[in-house]
């Protein structure tokens, strides 16, 4: 039988606010345990929440970014359950009246077609703390630094049909939130976490199969593997005559293993109701207008511009527009370097390679976009050959100079374009290699092309790579007739 996979996603996006959603404690990652958990975050008696304006603004921007309606009246509710990383015994979230209503996102598929994924809604909520299971005499340690960090949860319709589509959606959402500047996009720090709902059904069937939910996937790679694994498992189960049990599953990316979470003794009864410590959030038209005016160019618009205005290929434009940090860096390189194609090659080539080797991202790249642009400008104006440019880049990376010009000056790497100086070297090389000159002159036109490379190599060597290769070729042609 042929099977069809149906996937829906719930994506938790940590908002890049300075403070928590309901308290004025810092959200910075990596602080010592419980040093960023204030009395409100700890749920101490008598404390009260006040909503962070920036979290509201960021949620609205997300709504714009996914073509969604903004609900002008939205309400925070309490989702009640007991867990040690949930200090108040309830999570403050939104249910009946979320801030972002229905929307949609288009994703480009490999075959070049465009697929629309509908967004059911997106709601604001607070993150929980962390349970640390290292051994504290058989106890679990609770760190509440993360408790109260604002999250926006994006809930899709079950509109994806393969792991690849789900990953394409996830990447696109990542591009949107980073472009909007509402999330730092650091997957390894849990800034974006995916819950995937997966079911399978015989191809052609319209009703949905029983789904399972695999929680808390924090990389695109794990997500793809977890989905494929789960699809495989479900198909095998059904083909072996078993029914799929609706359950929550955990996937371990390190071991590539998935398992069912311990089934709860009771059905969850979260007893949602409007939080009486908070009032309805009213979004005024003036706020929407102000935020609309602040909206940056979205990735797909940027991609189109890269193709149409900068003349990049579809492939290059896709890669360079996917992440805001990369796209912004690239645009600055273009501006200061003056050549889009060169800039694209360098950002996707030498720069990406070097960042990768050093385990760095573009955000903490030691060579700024302006500096790289300066280097490219020197390639464009023939001051540097491509080969020497790599040496200059290496020097800039090592901090051996603040600008390309400074490195070129200091190391004397300037390409020689003075005709007289090059001519002298050409003459010298020809004089030193009379046998090769004779051979060349005797050879027919077809062989000469290869043989000229020998002279070029010798001349470049003699000039320590600084002679302009174009001029060398031209002079050789003149001299050898």
């Amino acid at each position: 039988m042929e099977w069809e996979t149906v996937i829906g996603l719930e994506v938790h996006v940590q908002l890049a606010t300075k403070t928590k959603i309901f308290s004025a404690a810092s959200t910075a990652f990596g602080a010592e345990a419980n040093t960023q958990a204030c009395a409100i975050d700890l749920g101490l008696p008598g404390t009260l929440p006040v909503v962070n304006e920036e979290a509201i603004n960021m949620a609205i921007k997300l709504g714009f970014g996914i073509n969604a309606e903004i609900n002008k009246i939205n309400v925070f509710e309490r989702k009640n359950y007991f867990y040690p990383d949930l200090p108040k015994g309830y999570q403050t979230t939104q249910l009946a009246k979320p801030i972002v209503g229905a929307g949609h996102m288009d994703i480009a598929l490999e075959d070049g077609t465009v697929h629309t994924v509908r967004i059911h809604h997106a709601h604001l909520e607070e993150d929980a703390g962390k349970s640390l299971h290292e051994d504290f005499h058989g106890m679990t340690g609770i760190d509440l630094n993360r408790a109260g960090t604002p999250l926006i949860e994006v809930v899709t319709e079950p509109d994806m049909r393969s792991a690849k589509q789900a990953v394409a959606f996830a990447r696109k959402l990542h591009a949107i939130v980073t472009t909007l500047g509402i999330c730092d996009g650091e997957m390894s720090q849990g800034s974006m976490r995916f819950d995937v709902n997966v079911s399978v059904r015989p191809k052609g069937q319209t009703t949905l199969g029983t789904r399972t939910e695999t929680k808390n996937l924090n990389s695109f790679r794990f997500m793809e593997r977890a989905i494929n694994k789960e699809v495989q498992r479900q198909i095998e189960q059904i083909e072996d005559g078993f029914e799929i049990v609706q359950e929550t599953r955990l996937y371990n990316g390190d071991t590539d293993e998935a398992r069912s979470m311990r089934t709860k003794e009771e059905a969850n009864d979260y007893r949602y109701f409007p939080c009486p410590d908070l009032l309805p959030v009213i979004i005024e038209e003036s706020r929407l207008e102000k935020l609309r005016a602040e909206m940056p160019e979205m990735p797909e618009v940027r991609k189109a511009r890269f193709i149409n205005e900068l003349g990049l290929s579809d492939y290059d434009a896709e890669i360079l527009s996917a992440e805001a940090a990369t796209a912004n860096y690239f645009e600055t390189v273009v501006q200061s370097g003056g050549d889009a194609k060169l800039a694209a090659n360098w950002v996707m080539g030498e720069l990406a390679k070097t960042l990768n080797q050093n385990d760095l991202t573009i955000k903490n790249c030691p060579v700024s976009a302006q500096v790289l642009g300066g280097l490219i400008a020197r390639i464009k104006d023939n001051t540097l050959s491509g080969k020497i440019a790599k040496q200059v880049f290496e020097a800039l990376w090592q901090g051996e100079g603040a600008t390309a010009d400074e490195v070129i000056e200091k190391k004397g790497l300037k390409q020689v374009t003075d005709t007289g100086a090059i001519e002298a070297i050409v003459d010298e090389v020809l004089a030193a290699n009379p046998a090769q000159v004779e051979q060349y002159l005797a050879a027919d036109e077809a062989k000469r092309g290869k043989m000229v490379g020998f002279f070029v190599g010798q001349i470049m060597k003699a000039s320590k790579g600084k002679a302009n290769p174009g001029m060398v070729n031209q002079l050789l042609k003149q001299k050898l007739g």
Partner: protein, 95 residues
């Protein structure tokens, strides 16, 4: 309305309250009587009435995104039943 002891026990579990058998029986009687008092409201015609969550038609005020809470871990953990290395300790949680 009668809230029988079985229901009481399941509500008590949902609310994480340990109750002795005697307490369950006693609570069943009292809560059934109170639910009787409450059920009286079902006679009120509330068709077309919007629920009222707060007495004043006020709206949420928003706080500017500035860090004003600084680390007070020592003071805030002074009352904690079990703490080690800055972490609150609980019996091992198994997921």
């Amino acid at each position: 309305m009668v809230i029988d002891p079985t229901t009481i026990a399941s509500i008590a579990h949902l609310a994480r309250l340990s109750l002795s058998d005697d307490e369950v029986q006693l609570a069943s009687g009292k809560i059934s009587a109170i639910m009787g008092l409450i059920d009286e409201m079902q006679s009120v015609d509330t068709n077309g009435v919007e629920p009222l969550a707060h007495p004043l038609d006020a709206v949420q005020r928003l706080r500017s995104d500035e860090i004003t809470e600084i680390n007070q871990r020592e003071e805030l953990q002074a009352n904690a039943p079990a703490v080690e290395k800055g972490l609150f300790l609980v019996p091992r949680v198994i997921e």
